[in-house]
């Protein structure tokens, strides 16, 4: 049972995915699958994962996010993790979690700026 819905929006060649506040393991796994499918389907180069409402980031959730970042990278895309709450950042660090080599931003607005400038730099190389 997927208890909470995942919002996946295509926006100017980018994918904006909003993670629900307290997803169960199945929802987290479904999120990964939906993101990868949408990346391929919409021919996106960038992904913004909005985690601003997420209250608990435990090791399973963090591993799935890190994996997703890696998978998106293999598909030629860049990921920005946006809006991690201060309490979640403190807890994740003490727990020993890392989210792979994802870019991070304070909010979705800055994530979109960061992604746009990163992608245009990538093009120039």
């Amino acid at each position: 049972m997927v208890s909470e819905s995942i919002s996946v929006i295509k926006l100017r060649g980018l994918l904006l995915v909003t993670v629900p506040p307290d997803p169960d393991d199945e929802t987290v796994s479904a999120l990964q699958e939906q993101v990868l499918q949408a990346m391929a389907q919409h021919d996106c180069k960038g992904l913004v994962l909005d985690i601003s409402t997420v209250q608990t980031l435990d090791s399973f959730f963090a591993r799935t996010v890190a994996e997703t970042v890696q998978m998106v990278a293999l598909m030629g895309g860049r990921t920005v993790l946006a809006g991690m709450r201060a309490s979640v950042a403190v807890t994740a660090t003490q727990l020993g979690l890392t989210v792979g080599n994802s870019l991070t931003a304070l909010n979705v607005d800055r994530a979109l700026d960061l992604l746009n400038s990163t992608l245009s730099k990538d093009l120039r190389l």
Binding site: M1, S3, D22, P23, D24, D25, E26, Q55, T56, L57, D58, S59, F60, A62, R63, R85, A86, S87, V88, V90, T91, A92, Q94, L95, G96, L97
Partner: protein, 136 residues
């Protein structure tokens, strides 16, 4: 707050990990913990509940408020009759896992909480007790 609050929650399915987080979040918030400590406690509970679900399939989480020398705290006990942990010391090492986990659950939970004790007997089960004290 002098009266004691307590409750228990049975863990039998994957969805109970989410439910356990809700129960613990409510208990910790009611006791007066701040947002960062609530997040620490809930995250530790999530790790320990998932351990029960993955390794023992089912178990029970007990929670109770603590009143000791004018200090207020929350105690969570995770009990299962699963396979047990052969080497508790090893299980407390960062990155050690016999399953498919990251090996962060037990050592990470210990860092998030103030106190943690593990009692485990192979073939009988495991009991993990964690406590967090409210900073005055």
């Amino acid at each position: 707050m002098n009266e004691s609050h307590q409750g228990e929650f049975r863990i039998t399915s994957e969805n109970d990990i989410v439910m356990a987080r809700k129960v613990v979040r409510d208990a910790a918030t009611t006791l007066g913990f701040g947002i960062t400590d609530v997040t620490r406690i809930v995250t530790a509970a999530s790790e320990l509940t998932r351990n029960i679900y993955h390794y023992a399939k089912s178990g029970v989480m007990h929670w109770r408020s603590l009143n000791q020398d004018a200090s207020v705290g929350l105690e969570l006990t995770f009990e299962d009759s699963g396979p047990g942990i052969p080497d508790v010391e090893k299980a407390m090492e960062m990155g050690f896992s016999t399953g498919k986990g990251l090996g962060l659950g037990l050592p990470g939970s210990k860092r998030l909480m103030d106190e943690m004790t593990i009692e485990s007997t192979v073939g009988k089960g495991t009991t993990v007790v964690v406590r967090k004290w409210l900073k005055q």
